[in-house]
């Protein structure tokens, strides 16, 4: 009887011992860390020449694209229809945090780190979608959309803009105050790296 009891206790201890490491081995997700992965310092000129930017707001011929706008409104502002990159997906705040970490892995520099860090703070959950527009002569604008539930309206929470690449030596810093980068030729594109505002003008001067 006593031996049975001891054997039973031993079995319980064995189960506990085998269960505990499994629990403690589960690492805390990296995604909630401020600096979850190694990143490089952003090189603004290089980013403007050939990488993906995360500007907000974006002014296109005077029309302002900013976060909080619905997809249809964006279609109207941009004058072209979007194409779907990722259709609506349900995500918890933890899954969204992991999703943002994956975005950071793809653009591992300090600019995206801070941008995604601010988005992460909102701890969004619900439905998510990604759409993009090809802007002739400019590049590709991608909008990340969110709605808390199917019944609620969606809003863009992040933009990625990949401009048509130009050689690095063609990127110029505009004279004057601030750190504003420009590209030669048409359309006229300017990026204020301090305010993160990007302006595109496809109209010829005087138009």
């Amino acid at each position: 009887m006593r031996r049975d009891l001891l054997a039973g206790l031993g079995l319980v201890m064995l189960v506990l011992a085998s269960a505990r490491p499994a629990l403690s081995l589960q690492p805390e997700s990296l995604c909630w860390r401020d600096y979850p992965i190694p990143v490089t310092a952003v090189n603004y000129e290089k980013a403007f020449a050939s990488e993906t930017l995360a500007p907000d707001p974006i002014s296109i011929n005077g029309k302002v694209v900013t976060t909080g706008i619905a997809e249809k409104t964006l279609d109207g502002l941009l004058g072209v229809a979007s194409t779907v990159v990722e259709d609506w997906q349900q995500r918890s705040d933890q899954e969204q945090c992991e999703y943002l970490l994956e975005e950071l892995r793809q653009h591992a520099n300090t600019m995206h780190l801070y941008k995604l860090g601010v988005v992460k703070l909102k701890k969004m959950s619900g439905l998510f979608r990604v759409v993009q527009w090809e802007l002739p002569g400019v590049g590709t604008l991608r909008a990340f959309l969110h709605k808390p539930s199917a019944a609620e309206p969606e809003a863009a929470y992040l933009y990625h803009l990949t401009l048509l690449p130009v050689p690095l030596d063609k990127v110029q810093r505009r004279k004057g105050k601030g750190y504003v980068l420009t590209k030669p030729g048409a359309p006229k594109i300017e990026w204020n790296t301090e305010t993160n505002r990007l302006s595109i003008s496809t109209r010829a001067a005087g138009e």
Partner: protein, 191 residues
């Protein structure tokens, strides 16, 4: 002198270290004339961050021998969950050790080293002493409030991004705190 003993902590390594030192020197010159500027050096010690403190003239600095301090400031990069980043972009230290006084439980609680550090800082501060965290967004989550709780002292931190390495804006924020009206995004957190 209301601020006879002030400790300003800056990183000795990583991105913008010279800018943070410049801000510390200007704060000492224009706001806290008797401040001691202390540099941190983070090293990896068997998979955990180890932080050494050294004064600008190269002497070791010990918190347990420092008392009756009126202000402790940190000037560094930072963000919402894990406090001051003392080695940002320094590849000689693992990235997870860049913020040695970070958080656990998805940013809800201070990590054990952070709890120990901020408690010791609180012990060095006098009763009406304050902690000022100059860096981005350290007041936007639970971090600054947790530091206030651990130290038992009032903490000021930013709820948004600020230019901690820009002496003009950093001094403006500190002056506003000292004048009793913390300028946004700096915000006060009670213990």
């Amino acid at each position: 002198m209301p601020h006879d003993k002030v400790i300003i902590i800056i990183p000795s390594q990583g991105d913008a270290k010279n800018a943070f030192e410049d801000v510390a020197r200007k704060l000492k010159k224009e706001v806290y004339s008797n401040a001691t500027i202390v540099k941190t050096t983070v090293t990896d010690s068997s998979g955990a961050a180890s932080v050494a403190f050294t004064t600008l003239d190269g002497h070791p600095f010990a918190w347990d021998r420092t008392h009756n301090v009126s202000r402790v400031l940190t000037i560094s990069h930072g963000f919402a969950a894990d406090g001051p980043n003392l080695a940002m972009l320094d590849s000689s230290v693992p990235v997870e050790e860049h913020q040695p006084w970070g958080s656990k439980n998805e940013g809800r609680d201070l990590s054990d080293p952070a709890q120990a550090f901020w408690t010791s800082v609180g012990s060095s501060l006098r009763a009406d002493g304050k902690i000022i965290l100059l860096g981005c967004a350290m007041g936007s989550g639970a971090y600054a409030a947790n530091v206030a709780k651990a130290a038992g002292k009032r903490v000021f931190a930013a709820t948004d991004e600020i230019g901690a390495g820009n002496s003009k804006s950093a001094l403006m924020y500190v002056r506003s705190i000292e004048a009793g009206h913390a300028k946004k995004p700096m915000q006060g957190f009670k213990p």
